[in-house]
Symmetry: C2
Subunit: 346 residues, 2 copies
């Protein structure tokens, strides 16, 4: 059995390193072909892995004395803090010692590190952050959720490709429906960027572009992949978090407003718990950074052990299906189309 090695930034996130190590041990027990390089200060990590027992042989501490904080300037930190747990994890991927890197640390730093330390897949202009979000009918992937503001239309076309491959290979959706976030269903709707992107996406058949998707239909899950500029995608991502918690808050206010409603709320407790779980996108693991030549996953900053375990399962899956190789191959097809398209007079 070939092993899959994931380099884990043990110092990233609000609950590091405790929850990171706990989640890592859980993942090792669940996946017998998983190996973990735990990157961080040995003296802090050693006691935490003491109870590893049966999986001890598959977890190795990689000394990294520095930490990139949430307030470090991303690019600068990636360049200078070469001994940080995040850079050490990314370098392990670059050097081929690991196939994937996982971190719950600074998003900005991880994106910069993915670009600068791991590098892009040939043909991909801009790697993109691509979390899977809960939809009413089915989960959907949002790409780009914030890696690139001021996108060009070609980037959006590539996001569609990467998102489609992820949903098919990792999430098992056959021929994913790729929609372009927009303010109307008609192809001529939207800003200049989105109108151009629509044309580019409509003129290829490497993936299944289903047209514009209006924001109101996004939470339904009417598209499996929702393509957006990183600014708009980040607005959607953050707004989802904000609105969901605001709605639940407003609902709670109403539930506490009378004895009758309090009793109702009590009876509904288990249902509300399931609801909350359904809304919780950590269930799907972390946000993959698609387009870098290796697997890089951003776990939510507030991840607990189970979220880390899920993100490791996701990393394992992404490596197993060779996501980067798939993207490289399909991108070559898309680029071929593009060259042909460009030589045609329009």
């Amino acid at each position: 059995m070939a092993q899959i090695t994931v380099a884990v930034d043990a110092m990233g996130g609000d609950n590091a390193p405790g929850a990171v190590v706990e989640g890592s041990l859980m993942a090792l027990r669940e996946m017998p072909d998983l190996r973990i390089l735990l990157c961080g200060p040995t003296e802090a990590l050693k006691p935490l892995t003491a109870g590893a027992g049966d999986v001890k042989e598959r977890i190795e501490i990689r000394e990294a004395p520095e930490v990139i904080g949430m307030h470090d300037a991303p690019v600068l930190a990636i360049r200078r803090k070469t001994g940080s747990s995040m850079v050490v994890a990314l370098m392990a991927v670059k050097d081929g010692q690991a196939q994937a890197a996982l971190s719950a640390g600074s998003t900005g730093a991880l994106l910069a590190g993915g670009m600068l330390r791991v590098g892009r897949i040939k043909g991909i202009d801009r790697p993109a952050l691509a979390p899977v979000l809960p939809g009413r009918k089915n989960p959907f992937l949002l790409i780009d959720a914030g890696a690139n503001v001021d996108c060009q239309s070609e980037y959006l076309r590539q996001f569609g490709l990467m998102g489609s491959i992820y949903m098919e290979k990792v999430m098992g959706v056959s021929r994913p429906r790729v929609g372009l976030l927009n303010i109307g269903a008609e192809s001529e709707k939207g800003s200049r960027l989105y109108k151009e992107a629509h044309q580019l996406m409509a003129s290829q058949s490497v993936y299944n572009f289903t047209g514009n998707i209006e924001a109101r239909d996004v939470p339904n899950g009417d598209a499996d992949v929702v393509v957006a500029d990183g600014f708009d995608g980040n607005i959607v991502l953050k707004y989802t978090e904000g609105l969901a918690s605001s709605l639940v808050g407003m609902l709670k206010d109403e539930m506490m407003s009378s004895t009758r409603s309090k009793l109702g709320a009590l009876l509904l407790k288990p249902a509300l718990r399931t609801f909350k779980k359904r809304m919780d996108y950590e269930e799907y693991g972390g946000s993959p950074f698609l387009g870098v030549s290796g697997v890089v996953i951003k776990a939510h900053g507030s991840s607990g052990p189970v979220a880390f375990k899920n993100a490791l399962r996701q990393a394992h899956k992404m490596v197993s299906v060779d996501i980067s190789g798939q993207i490289a191959r399909e991108m070559a097809k898309l680029a071929g189309l593009n060259d042909k398209g460009e030589s045609d007079p329009q």
Copy 2:
């Protein structure tokens, strides 16, 4: 007592003309100084106003045989269908026969009509759609919710001004907090447009700019005015509708999942009704189209009689406080600042 005259597009919206007329009569009974010009085909409207009784003298039918449909091309329809109920209503404002126009018809056509038939306030580059949305702590105004895609930073600065005046004069918020929608709180965050807009907004003191507001904090009501490009604003508006209904749907799924939860849901019925009402932005009337020289309000397409009545109350209030005059005066101040700013070397 000076009368306030509102020209109402009797044929706009899903429930026209019945709900429009019913809401108009309710409004007339509530506001003794209100007068309504009901624009539409006389033969269709006459029977509906037959029961007006005590308010009959304050409602006048203005013959308009044509209707602008939802599929008409906006600019073309406004130019060609001069006999449509929407154009007749807008022209009444232009000609000074009414101080406000209200329509639940095509948003695109109403925006085009506001620009082409009513005209802009001096100094305002782009009028903007500005609905008030429910927030957890307090309602907030979103500007621009979709009138202008591909904005320039100066437009956004003006949106801040108009939104601030509306929240202060119409909604009674003192010194409204104006936030710029963004992907981070720091001033250097965001796309080129938003970075520039931030600088422009921060360099004036005509209104109270409180900095960037992250999408996750928007539904809380942390800003009284949320400024955005029309593309992003429309995404937020539509996504709010979609997510709220999707969340309520998911919640219902869970509530129907067991006998226990069904009983809980039954007990919670009144609380859920209040919750739904709180979420319903029609409570605040329609979306004003700020920046045109007159009051123009877009009512939601699905408005019922009460929503129309509320929108008429809103029109009445906007006229009473002379919203267009207020905007013109404050815009002159802002433009003065701008000229000074430009002559200073940076």
